[in-house]
Amino acid sequence: MLVKQLSVFMENRPGRLYKLTHALGQEGIDFVTLSIADTKDFGIVRFIARDNEKAYEILKNAGFTVGITELIGVEVGDRPNALAEVVALMEEANMNIEYLYSFVLTNHNTAKILMRVEDTDRAVQLLESKGIKLLSEKIL
């Protein structure tokens, strides 16, 4: 029920993102998502690839510090307030969302939300009990 995401430590200086994306691109790795949180000196690049395991090996061998994180993926209707409803459920249960990103595929009428929470198991239970559609890696 969970979606695997790769996290890579990256210094905030020119050329670094190219090195990462090129290392994967030349091996034919396709990105599904990509997000960068940054501060002044460094950031974490988070992404999901079509082939996460291969991407992990490639980056490891290229000398990157790379980790694997499990995210909860949720599918909601592409309409106002859809995200707020999911967030409200989490808040009621006093569950903290560490970070979240979402995307809409143009040919669908749903939006996909990926989030990282402290207690993944509990969050999955909660959302399922409320009838929220969870994504598996394949659906992405």
């Binding site: 996290s7 210094e11 000196d41 980790g67 560490e98």
Partner: protein
């Protein structure tokens, strides 16, 4: 009791050692005075005669020798024998100006290899070991110095020299080397690279004899964990002949000084005062038997302390603590003395960090700044951003506790800091520009 290469010397009573040192000291002082014009001039200037040296305490009357003296007398001005008797020359890397040159007679080379053989045996080596020597061969004293020591021990020497790390790892594996000779930073780099190449388990290295730069307990532990080999450190400097002045035994309770060949003192330079056993100060060395280039009371600039207590290993030779810093390396940051080794100690103690770091000192708006850049090696830190910030805060706090000043900490990517294959340069001081 552990194995020794020269048990008759290494277990002498303190009284016998002092007796031998006094005899040799009297001889070398007279020898230097008669044969080296700089020493004659210097003694005459203060009315000192070799015969004034009647006890080891009298050694304090002799002026120090400094690196500048060696530079001023470049290349052969301090040699005590005609060139015909010099069979080998070595020189320091000489990053600034002229290098420091050393000249060796045949007897000097023989004594030198004896010193090395002793420290290798003290580290646990036998004549059945295969030594991979990753020190540079050439003018640098490290390569040839260790090489002939290994031969004297009767072990097998693989004179790989420095460079081409991946090939070195192939040779380590294929030749089945059981002992590695390298700088601590290069030993670490070799181990890291072997791990990356996936061949770490195939290496048979059981001993790592490290020299040419000081290391910390944390580096030793990191190396032992990674390579599964027993690391020891040894000490020496080109000015007094090269490596072989002292080395650690299996107890790792200080480096045993080859006191039959070197006379150590610890001094407080500002107060011009010889310090007592256990007190920390600058190490002075007098070469007791060198024929080619005798050196009296050489200011090593290395900060350490001595103990004369017999060691658990059975040796009675004095031990010097690992060098905590160099008077030259000492950074003064906003009026506070900071040794890079203190920073290394903090960083090596943290498992989340890689083993490579650099220190950048600068002056911004008339204010000293110090920044430590360290590689992030642990993927577990990447689950959320807060962990990285917590790590930065943790490092800053630990440095603050040890150094008493605020240090800027910057996390950088693995392998983004340049690895050195010779002596590693960890500190960049931009204030000097």
């Amino acid at each position: 009791m552990q194995q020794m290469f020269s048990p008759e010397i290494e277990t002498m009573s303190r009284k016998e050692i002092a007796q031998m040192q006094l005899e040799r000291m009297k001889h070398i002082v007279a020898y230097a005075y008669e044969r080296v014009p700089m020493y004659k001039k210097r003694f005459d200037a203060i009315g000192l005669k070799p015969e004034h040296i009647k006890t080891l305490k009298d050694v304090e009357l002799i002026p120090y020798t400094t690196k500048d003296d060696l530079r001023d007398n470049y290349p052969f001005g301090l040699f005590a024998v005609p060139m015909k008797q010099i069979v080998r020359l070595h020189a320091s890397s000489g990053t600034t100006g002229k290098p420091i040159v050393g000249g060796y007679t045949r007897k000097d080379l023989d004594n030198w290899s004896t010193c090395i053989a002793r420290l290798l045996v003290a580290a646990g080596a036998t004549d059945e070991d295969i030594f991979h020597v990753a020190f540079g061969y050439g003018l640098f004293t490290g390569g040839f110095g260790l090489h002939y020591g290994v031969e004297k021990l009767g072990a097998t020497v693989v004179p790989v020299s420095s460079g081409n790390t991946e090939r070195q790892i192939m040779l380590l594996k294929d030749f089945g080397a059981t002992a590695l000779i390298a700088t601590p930073s290069y030993a670490m780099y070799l181990a890291e690279t072997a791990k990356k190449m996936g061949v770490l388990d195939e290496l048979k290295v059981r001993l790592v004899c490290m020299g040419a730069e000081a290391s910390t307990a944390e580096t030793h532990q990191a190396l032992q964990d990674l390579l599964g080999a027993f690391p020891t450190e040894n000490y020496g400097l080109t000015e007094v002949g090269g490596p072989g002045v002292s080395g650690e035994c299996r107890e790792k309770a200080g480096m045993h000084i080859n006191e039959d060949m070197f006379y150590p003192e610890i001094v407080n330079i500002e107060q011009n005062k010889v310090l007592k056993e256990g007190e920390q100060g600058e190490l002075l060395i007098t070469t007791l038997v060198k024929e080619g280039m005798p050196i009296l009371r050489y200011r090593t600039k290395d900060i350490t302390s001595l103990t004369y207590e017999p060691c658990k290993c059975g040796r009675t030779l004095a031990r010097m603590a690992r060098v905590v810093g160099r008077t030259d390396d000492m950074l003064i940051i906003r009026g506070v003395n900071v040794f890079p080794s203190q920073i290394e100690g903090v960083l090596m103690g943290m498992k989340e960090l890689g083993k490579t770091y650099e220190i950048v000192v600068d002056r911004v708006n008339y204010m000293d700044t110090i920044e430590v850049r360290v590689e992030v090696g642990d993927a577990n830190l990447l689950t959320d951003y807060g962990k990285l910030e917590e790590l930065v805060a943790k490092i800053k706090h630990a440095l603050r506790v040890v150094l008493q000043i605020d240090v800027k900490v910057k996390l950088v990517e693995p392998f983004s800091i340049k690895r050195a294959e010779g002596k590693v340069k960890r500190v960049t001081d931009l204030r000097k520009k």
